[in-house]
């Protein structure tokens, strides 16, 4: 294995990008990611917050105490993972983390791994999705992604600009990926449009260091409209129009409990902004 440390975007030339390493290193060790070339992109990806633009290399630990970002993002960072992981993990890396679905993590031949069934649907799925779970029932684990979707954030990569929600795609028969990122494409910056108010509420099964059972980000935009995005409920961060939309959820037998939980959190988050 080789390790490259480019200092500019121009030097990028293939390989697997690694920033904080909190996702890539365990995946390499478990054989879920194969790489002969690791590219340490810390010299390439901007860090810090400036005029509503957050460098994708900024750590979650920096953001959880950053006064210049909206509450929803700050709180999503504060409640994410563990202190050490927040010290290591970058904003960009967090957006690209893979599901915690145990079948996927254990290398079952599931649909995300190119197989022809979702083991969770028939098997153990109490932490899985309540929306868009027909093909793959995995739940998206990123608190930060939900917050950014609610905040209407835009991403800049080395190749394009896009809305955060457009970074994600539901896997299907033809394409099993859950992001639209292309080979060699690297997240560089996150642009946060101004919002009036925002918040993030997270249900965990212990007080800290837990992936979201359900995470709810709500942001009231400058034009008065409200965006609601959820973590832990679908294979990708999930936008809903209103709390009523949760009635259209399609939970699995053991994820039914997530529906009233999400309803309660959405109502609370909306009330907090009112």
């Amino acid at each position: 294995m080789e390790l490259l440390r480019p200092s500019s975007v121009a030097e990028l030339d293939g390989g697997s990008f690694v920033h904080g390493g909190t996702e890539v290193v365990p995946l390499l060790r478990e054989g879920l990611l194969q790489a002969q070339r690791l590219v340490d992109v810390r010299g390439v990806v901007p860090r810090g917050v400036r005029d509503g633009v957050v460098g994708a290399g900024t750590t979650l630990a920096q953001l959880e105490v950053e006064p210049a970002i909206p509450e929803a993002l700050r709180e999503a960072c504060r409640l994410a993972s563990s202190p050490q992981l927040r010290n290591m993990g970058s904003l960009g890396g967090n957006l690209l983390q893979a599901t915690r679905c145990w079948y996927w993590r254990l290398g079952y031949d599931c649909r995300l791994h190119g197989g022809d069934r979702c083991h969770a649907r028939e098997g153990e799925h109490r932490e899985h999705a309540i929306f868009a779970n027909d093909f793959c029932a995995s739940a998206h684990p990123s608190d930060v992604a939900a917050a950014l979707v609610a905040l209407g954030a835009r991403l800049r990569t080395n190749r394009r600009e896009l809305a955060v929600e457009d970074l994600y795609r539901l896997p299907d028969e033809a394409d099993r990926r859950t992001t639209t990122l292309e080979d060699g494409e690297l997240l560089l910056e996150v642009e946060l449009p101004p919002v009036d108010a925002s918040t993030y509420l997270k249900a965990m099964d212990r007080k800290r260091w837990s992936f979201p059972q359900v995470g709810v980000a709500v942001a009231r935009q400058a034009d008065g409209s409200t965006r609601i995005a959820l973590a832990g409920v679908a294979p990708v961060p999930w936008l809903i129009e209103s709390v009523e939309e949760l009635e259209t959820a399609t939970p699995l037998p053991r994820t039914e409990w997530k529906v009233p939980l999400a309803q309660a959190l959405v109502r609370r988050a909306l009330a907090a902004l009112a």
Binding site: L3, G21, V25, P26, L28, R42, Q84, N87, R208
Partner: protein, 146 residues
């Protein structure tokens, strides 16, 4: 094999280890700094916590060749007043997580010398103690300057 330069507890080390080797393995296997424990080896428990430039990180999932900055392990914190505070408060049972706890706590009190209980609970939540020593750990951190 690939050259690796590290500053650990103030000392310079030049080693030759394969790319992909974790900082924890370098500390324990190459340098015999066995105060840093490996309990899960996948970034979930905090037993392997070290500081890099004063910031707690998980050495088991840190690739040694990506380390930039000065590494502080428990061996570099043996004279820290927290050690005596942990002993006094009985903040150690089996002790396997304890070096990692001290490393995290040392970073906390460097940033906030008089942390509140809530701040302690937020900053120490990544260090799992299966013996459940937490009340005494909290006590040790609250009283570290006594």
């Amino acid at each position: 094999m690939s050259e690796l330069r590290l500053t650990i507890n103030g000392g310079e080390h030049v080693l030759d280890v394969p790319v992909g080797t974790s900082l924890a393995d370098v500390l324990r296997e190459e340098l015999e700094l066995t105060g840093t424990k490996i309990a899960c080896n996948e970034g979930h428990c905090g037993a392997c916590t070290v500081q890099v430039d004063g910031v707690p990180r998980l050495s088991c999932i840190t690739l040694a060749h990506t380390v930039e900055g000065e590494v502080t392990t428990i061996e570099g914190l043996r004279e820290h007043p927290l050690v005596e505070a942990f002993v006094r408060a009985d903040a150690v049972q089996c002790g396997f997580c304890t070096p990692g706890q001290v490393v995290s706590a040392a970073a906390l009190v460097a940033a906030r010398p008089e942390p509140t209980r809530d701040e302690i609970r937020h900053a120490m939540a990544g260090n799992i103690c299966r013996c459940g020593t937490y009340p005494k750990i909290e006590e040790a951190i609250l009283t570290w300057q006594d």
